[in-house]
Subunit: 92 residues, 2 copies
């Protein structure tokens, strides 16, 4: 699967990411990965639910994966911090 | 599965819920459901990752489900709001 079919969730409004997902599916994508980390994880779930329930009812959730990513320390000598991640794979 | 094997994530520190999960597994539970909604969803993922990576490496994620729950309107006549939910099933 091409990495271009990913939507990385940040701090923008939910509808921005919903539109990004819809655009990918309308462009012919069979799969779209919605990825987020840290506090954006709950927004990623919001995005997927809005896409499925309001716009593309035929889209299914194929897989939900969660994990941990180690962030590089901000300063020399400080300990690295962990951040939780989620990856939700949608298929049309 | 008994409904008592659920940990509902709220606004307390992550370690409170981690301890709740560990206590259930140590008490003989084969499955524990970690549930959250709205902004607590990212904390639910944190809880699961800490349980698995720091305390109980044998615990597996059996299933991750996401959904939408309709909240009753706060005032008469106002529209109901939707909130996203997550349910992560862990098994030992």
């Amino acid at each position: 699967m091409s990495e271009s079919n990913s939507v990385l969730i940040g701090n923008k409004p939910v509808m921005n990411y919903v539109l990004a997902c819809i655009t990918l599916f309308h462009g012919g994508a069979k799969e779209v990965n919605v990825k987020a980390r840290g506090r954006s994880i709950s927004r990623a779930v919001d995005v997927v639910e809005v896409v499925r329930r309001r716009f593309l009812p035929d889209v299914k959730i194929r897989k939900v994966g969660i994990g941990t990513q180690q962030m590089a320390p901000r300063e020399e000598g400080s300990t690295p911090t962990n951040v939780s991640t989620i990856e939700i794979t949608l298929e049309s």
